[in-house]
Amino acid sequence: MTGLVERIRHASEATLPGDYVRDVKTAVIEEIRAIDATATVEDTTYFNHSAIPDLVLSWADQRESRQLFLRGSYAGVIAGRDVEYLGESRPVVMALSDERADLPTALRPEQASGRRAETLVTDSSALESLSEEPVSESPLAGLVRANFLRGGKGHIDEEVAGGLVRAPEFGPEATSFVDVVRNSFNEAAATRIERSAGIMDLALGRDLSELEFDPENPTAAPIRGVLSKAEIATLIPWLLRTPSVTQEPLFWRYVGSMMTFKDLENIATDVADLDMSALIRANSARWVAGRSYIGVRPTRDAADGLAEPLVGEWSFRGGLLGLDVGAARIQLATDGRRLKGRPGSSSARWESVREVLSGSNVVGAQLRGVTKAVTVTANAGNDIRDDIERFAAGDADDYFVDEVKIQLPATEELAERVVTVSFSKAFVTAEEASLTDLVDATTDVLGFRELAEFRGAALAREAESPQ
């Protein structure tokens, strides 16, 4: 693809000013999207106005948007005293010309006070250098790129931008890199990048003991908070792909504590076919979802003659998280838009499910006979297995169970909740249940026929630690 600088140069050959504006804005918007796919770009339809920005950038997970002013050159930025006049809204001021220039000291954002110091003055060459193929495999380079327009500050020309995207992967250089980041990004963006550097450091073997909660010193934990979309999109795939990353559940629980299962679903295509087991097992008791489904395991090419393991790895396929189990695949999703049921699946006879429900607190059931359909609901969460039993045994009709509702006791992470096992649709639903709840109900109840041998296998949980 032609670079931004060349596209702008080409646009200036337009005879009609309107064509120039259209071509330049299209090129800049495409460049922005290449750097930060999470940004929404609005065209104000103004161009080079002294007060109205050309573009307004916004992000779903950030309240404040950022204005972007296009200027013909650095000389134009200087003549217009843009940092002084526009800096109050901490905008991005971008020179379209690739002509390099030093800003006079008095006009540099870092010399300005208050919010003006967070103005980013940059140019088309710098933006182009950020969108080029990454020099560094480090997710920090990806985060620099993704945070550039969102949180960049000061004067960042091509040289500075180039230095930022050559981010080191880890080690002492990464520490000094964080200092560079502090000078080029606002507090929020620098914190995001620094947090990622910290997570990478832990992932690659730093002592994990600081992740242990110390009641004596509760604030000593590493940076937490909520990972931004950009962090999730760059850091998580890297953690999953890098072989030397620790498999310690403690680490993966820490990562999982800063995101949700839905966040993970949103990057499903970026992590397709990667082994998610460490991340899923470490967070399955806390992460919530709404659906679990038993599908038929897709047959694979067994040309290599190796037998596939009975239980595979947690992985995303076709945008859905799943686990191959025997001849089936259990799939999980936050909602029904991602995971639809399978109408026409067979209901179960009461005699068959009676046993698998032993020990469960059944609070509702839908039974269907030849002549009648009955819904049994418990008041105040009482177990109704005996009522169903009496009803099914005392009636001449032959009853099938379409669905049962099971109430689960409160855990450390979740309050009491109900999962609905639908035999007729082959899925388990819940308003809010943990991945563990859904997988256990799927294996132990819904899959009582096809997954009988995995009953009680706790497929989504961490293996018991050998203590």
């Binding site: 000013p17 106005h49 007060a51 109205i52 013909g72 050159s73 134009g76 217009g80 109050e88």
Partner: protein, 192 residues
């Protein structure tokens, strides 16, 4: 004063005039001669003329606007302005004549913004049809038979002479205020 420094001062002066005019919320001056000479150059019967700023009104039919900024600080230096002003007037008329040859003629508005008043004895007449006629008659590139009274009046009504004192920026809306106000005024015609 070194030429480079003079140019920088000129640039800053033009930028200041641009801010001031755009803060009226009626005008957008997208083009300046330093970065976009191709769009600040007007074609007229005598060839091409570069203006400092070019753009359009935000309202109505979004007529073209050309601005010439003159940053003189002394009466002596301002004295030479009159000749340049006459040339400016002749170009404005010549541009209108040239536009008439086009299928969709656009008669522009012309702003002469000076940092120092000049030609005070004629000051009240500078925008008049008589002043424009005199300037046009003196311009070699406008044929005598092309001086049309109706067009002279039309162009003269679109000539504006402004005296600019940079201190006026103190009483001008800040960019933040312009943003807030423009959002409510909806000056910009939809679809244009």
């Amino acid at each position: 004063m070194p030429a480079e420094e003079t140019q920088e001062l000129g640039r800053a002066a033009v930028a200041s005039v641009k801010r001031w005019l755009e803060a009226t919320t009626y005008i957008a001056l997208e083009w300046d001669v330093y970065n976009y000479v191709q769009y600040c150059s007007v074609e007229h019967l005598g060839g091409h003329k570069r203006l400092d700023l070019a753009g359009s009104y935000l309202t109505g039919t979004r007529d073209l606007v050309y601005v010439e900024s003159k940053r003189y600080t002394t009466a002596a230096s301002a004295r030479s302005l009159y000749g340049q002003f006459q040339d400016f007037l002749a170009v404005a008329y010549s541009h209108a004549l040239f536009q008439r040859t086009k299928p969709h003629p656009q008669i522009a508005h012309w702003y002469w913004v000076t940092y120092h008043p000049f030609e005070l004895t004629r000051w009240a007449q500078l925008e008049s049809p008589g002043e424009l006629t005199a300037a046009v008659t003196a311009a070699s590139y406008v044929p005598d038979d092309a001086v049309d009274t109706t067009l002279i009046h039309e162009v003269a009504s679109r000539i504006t002479v402004l005296v600019y004192n940079p201190k006026m920026e103190r009483f001008t809306m800040t960019p933040q205020e312009v943003q807030r106000v423009l959002g409510h005024l909806e000056r910009k015609a939809v679809g244009l």
